[in-house]
């Protein structure tokens, strides 16, 4: 009874705000006025019931969405406190250096990073001489010489990171039909990329009871579908760091994700700096614009308007 009274009164208020000249509104207002004065039997109109029913049905529908999410999108990754998370926070460049080492020694066997060049690391993780030394370790096929033959030469800083496979088909064939994606932009190419990659790398575990994963795949709850072709690659001590930081699984995962974040967004530090300066200047401009507007409008806002109409 109380709920019906509430909907009836609220509905009548809504009706009154409508255009009074419309006949429907007038009739509804007339009938509702009668209901307001009488406190006894009050029937909610069909419209009110319909609106209520639609709302309840919508709410019920929303519940189903949440359950479908995990099977389709994988377990949502937690939000880790990355050192570069703040408004004015830069990358941890020592971490980028270690992450590159992890990529080179662990991931580069299967994953390419063909959009990153060696020279991009100069001034970020290595000096120019170091980058030249690193690049010279690889061999690159170069264009025809004077005799028209292709030849191999040691790498230069302008070369891009070498790909482990020559094309996608070779990659699929070597990995049981699954293609190890290029990692140049992976943290931007996946939803919540940085947290997702870290959770994925450290998230390998035994499947829960009743869940079986076929031969060749591995269980990882963060991967959409739960079965990923990549085996667990990061184990404690897989890599030896130059700066004697202990190479635990989570340390390596953190470093490699920092490196991948830098590879996907090398402009982040400049972007944050510029954003801070721009927002600061714009906020000053906002104050100036607000003052100017109020100043110009002062004469209009403080005038006296006399409306002398005869009805």
């Amino acid at each position: 009874m109380g709920v019906r009274a509430l909907t009836g009164r609220a509905f009548s208020r809504i009706i009154r705000r409508l255009d009074y000249s419309s006949p429907v509104a007038q009739v509804a207002a007339a009938t509702n006025k009668q209901h307001d004065t009488e406190d006894s039997s009050r029937r909610p109109s069909a419209k009110a019931l319909g609106c209520l029913g639609a709302g309840v049905a919508g709410l019920i529908g929303l519940i189903g969405v949440a359950y479908a999410d995990e099977a389709e999108h994988g377990l949502p990754a937690p939000h880790y406190p990355w050192p570069h998370n703040g408004v004015l926070s830069s990358y941890d460049h020592a971490s980028i250096r270690r992450g590159h080492q992890v990529y080179q020694q662990v991931c580069a066997a299967c994953h390419s990073m063909s959009f990153v060049a060696f020279r991009d690391l100069i001034g970020v993780a290595y000096t120019e001489d170091e980058v030249k030394a690193i690049a010279a370790e690889i061999e690159v096929e170069d264009g025809p010489n004077d005799e028209g033959e292709m030849y191999m030469r040691p790498g230069k800083p302008s070369d891009h990171f070498p790909s482990p496979y020559s094309n996608e088909q070779a990659a699929r064939f070597a990995n049981g039909g699954a293609y190890p994606p290029d990692l140049s932009l992976i943290t931007k190419a996946r939803h919540n990329g940085q947290n997702y990659v870290f959770a994925l790398l450290t998230g390998y575990r035994d499947p829960p009871a009743g869940v079986s994963v076929r031969e060749g795949l591995h269980y990882n709850p963060y991967f959409p579908g739960g079965a990923i072709a990549m085996p667990k690659m990061l184990v404690d001590g897989a890599v030896e760091y130059e700066d004697e930081v202990p190479a635990t699984e989570s340390q390596m995962a953190k470093d490699v994700v920092t490196f991948l974040s830098w590879a996907a967004e090398p402009e982040m530090e400049e972007r944050k700096l510029m954003g801070f300066k721009v927002m600061f200047v714009l906020s000053l401009a906002l104050l100036q614009a607000g003052y100017y507007k109020r100043w110009k409008w002062a004469s209009i806002k403080s005038r006296r308007v006399i409306v002398d109409v005869v009805n």
């Binding site: 004015l88 926070s89 830069s90 130059e242 100036q288």
Partner: protein, 113 residues
């Protein structure tokens, strides 16, 4: 100069008129009565007390050339100040994370070779 200069770069005509009126009346009054004119007289368009801000406003908007020069020089100087202040804040906030702080810089070139 990446600062966006988005103010009116010409002293509006109405402002100029007010300035001229105000200064003309002050000169007349000074001539007649011999007393220095008060700025809180009826010819002042605003009823604010004269302060440093108001004096600066008067100083800068008398001539359009002064106004424009102030804007340009102000933008250049302001940009330098803002840049250096932001960079100091950035360096303070990111101690230990910068490229220069890498402890093993240079090891790869000498160690590997």
């Amino acid at each position: 100069m990446c600062v966006c200069v988005c103010v009116c770069v010409c002293v509006p005509e109405r402002e100029r008129e007010r300035e001229r009126e105000g200064s003309r009346r002050r000169r007349q009054r000074a001539r007649h009565t011999g007393t220095p004119a008060q700025q809180t007289d009826m010819d002042a368009p605003k009823r604010i007390k004269p302060g440093a801000l108001y004096a600066a406003y008067r100083l800068l908007t008398r001539r359009n050339s002064v106004y424009v020069s102030f804007i340009i020089v102000g933008a250049l100087v302001g940009e330098k100040v803002l840049d250096s202040a932001t960079n100091k804040l950035w360096l303070y906030n990111n101690q230990g994370k910068m490229y220069e702080d890498i402890s093993v810089l240079g090891m790869k070139a000498t160690g590997e070779e």
